[in-house]
């Protein structure tokens, strides 16, 4: 079954059409990519899916349930999480606290609010920090981390909350190139080992070709092409869109 199914979604700001009749599918357990030139409407589509603004028309289904009218928290609690292009972490707290805040809220009952953090949760937090290479910095105030490390932390926080699917908005943008390979590897392992479906916006072609099994390409707000990395790489329309010959 498709985990996320976007069909015929349009969204415009004032007179500017950001998305026009966009449809795509994110199958469960896979890594799906979304590419497109700057300003092509990738982030708008992301924001529509996670509930940051209403859509003009179309439908967005998650696990067979319509979510296009739900708000951010409700969608997040269904197990659909996103990370931000401009990384967002709680920058005044240390890494461990950032992780502990991110316990799964999907299943949290009223009484869970008042539970102390169990040693198992702290263990899990430390394990995941180790997984993203930040164990040595676990007691550091997270705002003091480098931008790339903050991205890794944000990724670990998302893993901590055990999502069904994780929407990553340009996970490698702006991070130190030395970190990119490690990050790609961890994204793949999160998909394989924890079974988390990934839906990734990416600008860096090399990254997305390495990472995704199926790629959608969007340009001028419209869906341009879909296919495996190989198909996309050889698609003349995609090449034109990226070179600006349109």
């Amino acid at each position: 079954m498709e985990l996320i199914e976007v069909s015929g979604v349009s969204k415009s700001y004032g007179g500017v059409v950001a998305n026009k009749q966009v449809s795509l599918k994110v199958p469960r357990g896979r890594i799906t990519g979304l590419i497109g030139p700057n300003g092509s409407g990738k982030t708008t589509l992301f924001n529509s899916i996670v509930g940051y603004h209403p859509i003009d028309e179309g439908s967005i289904m998650f696990e067979g349930k319509e979510i296009s009218h739900l708000r951010v928290q409700e969608i997040a609690r269904l197990g659909l999480l996103r990370t931000f292009q401009q990384t967002r972490i709680y920058s005044k707290m240390d890494c461990i606290k950032n992780m502990l805040i991110s316990v799964p809220h999907r299943t949290a009952t009223f009484r869970d609010m008042f539970r102390p953090y169990s040693p198992e949760l702290t263990d899990k937090a430390e394990h995941l920090l180790e997984f993203v290479g930040l164990y040595a910095k676990r007691r550091l105030i997270s705002g003091d981390l480098s931008f790339g490390q903050q991205k890794l932390l944000e990724f670990a926080m998302a893993l901590m909350s055990e999502p069904e699917v994780l929407l990553l908005d340009e996970p490698t943008a702006g991070i130190n190139p030395t970190l990119i390979n490690g990050l790609i590897d961890r994204l793949k392992r999160a998909n394989e080992e924890f079974g988390i479906t990934l839906f990734v916006i990416e600008h860096n072609m090399r990254v997305i070709m390495n990472l995704a099994e199926n790629i959608y390409c969007i340009a001028h707000g419209e869906m341009l092409a879909e296919g495996t990395p190989k198909q996309i790489q050889n698609d003349q329309r995609v090449i034109d869109a990226y070179l600006g010959a349109h």
Binding site: G51, Y52, H53, P54, R71, V72
Partner: protein, 302 residues
């Protein structure tokens, strides 16, 4: 309460009276609210001392009256004095809170409001004052009754309109006005383009204080002033700006006049002691309305 509503139905001329009084007062609310929209929009400062600036202007008129001069001449005095006062407050306090989080400016100006109202109380005493400008009061027969309109109210309405028009023209055409609008849109870009944003902010805040001062002179002549009335005026300004949005001058005018009229009617129906509660009630309504609006956009009111 029901009796009062019946009275309004039985004596339609009373409605006209309340409507007119509401518009006269509302025009002055518009001035103060426009000032708030200005500092809010340009420098993102939520000025809770807005109403106290207004009351300061009122006491300037009062003092001018005490000196035996017609309080109308207090208008230029208040504008000049309050402009200087606003400039000073900018450099003493506001300068330090612009870049900070929103609550900082709110609380700092709340402290300022406390200081101003208390100093006014010490200087002028806690009595409610009305400034007599010596104009005639006319009775006009209408709809089977007589409404009274004092000439000063009419004059004040005209002056409020003229002041507002002057400020709008100034913002559109003068170099400083253009600099202010540029800074409001993008302070960093304005700075890069060589605009002294610090001076722009100081001028904006001073201009706001001057507008408030002028509003205060008018309020003192057609209504009343008291050292502690400032907070209610501040909340009025917030109600108007919140309802209209700060980039929207026609909206501010409509909301201001509407608030003036609504207050007159509710004052008549419920009794004057509910004045503040009415303003707050309207504030709560506006805030709820904004939340419903935002939730349609899947957003919170920020």
């Amino acid at each position: 309460m029901i009796d009062n509503i019946n009275l309004l139905i039985l004596a339609p001329y009373l409605n006209i009276q309340l409507l007119l009084d509401g518009l006269f007062i509302g025009a002055i609310f518009v001035l103060a609210a426009y000032g708030l929209a200005l500092v809010w929009g340009v420098m993102n400062v939520k000025n809770l001392a807005q109403g106290d600036f207004v009351i300061m202007g009122g006491y300037i008129a009062w003092q001018v009256g005490v000196w035996g001069i017609n309080p109308l001449f207090g208008l230029p005095v208040a504008i000049v004095f309050m402009f200087g006062f606003g400039w000073a407050i900018y450099y003493l306090v506001i300068r330090y809170v612009i870049e900070r989080d929103l609550f900082t400016s709110l609380l700092a100006t709340f402290g300022l409001a406390l200081v101003i109202s208390q100093v006014l109380n010490l200087l002028f005493g806690p009595e409610v004052q009305i400034v007599d400008s010596g104009f005639a009061v006319r009775s006009i027969p209408i709809l089977g009754g007589e409404i009274t309109v004092s000439e000063i109210k009419f004059l004040s309405f005209l002056m409020a309109a003229a002041l507002a028009a002057a400020v709008v023209l100034f913002m559109k055409n003068s170099r400083m006005g253009q600099a202010i609008r540029a800074t409001a849109q993008d302070a960093r870009a304005a700075k890069v383009m060589g605009i002294d944003t610090e001076r722009v902010y100081a001028f904006t805040f001073a201009l706001n204080a001057a507008i408030c001062g002028a509003a205060g002179v008018l309020i003192a002549m057609i209504w009343n002033i008291q050292p502690f009335y400032g907070m209610t005026h501040s909340i009025r300004s917030f109600v108007i700006v919140t309802a209209a949005g700060f980039g929207n001058i026609p909206g501010v005018i409509m909301a201001g006049l509407g608030l003036g009229v609504a207050e007159q009617f509710s004052g008549f129906v419920l009794g004057a002691e509910f004045q503040q509660a009415t303003v707050v009630g309207l504030l709560v309504l506006v805030l709820i309305w904004r939340q419903i609006q935002s939730s349609r956009h899947r957003q919170a009111v920020i």
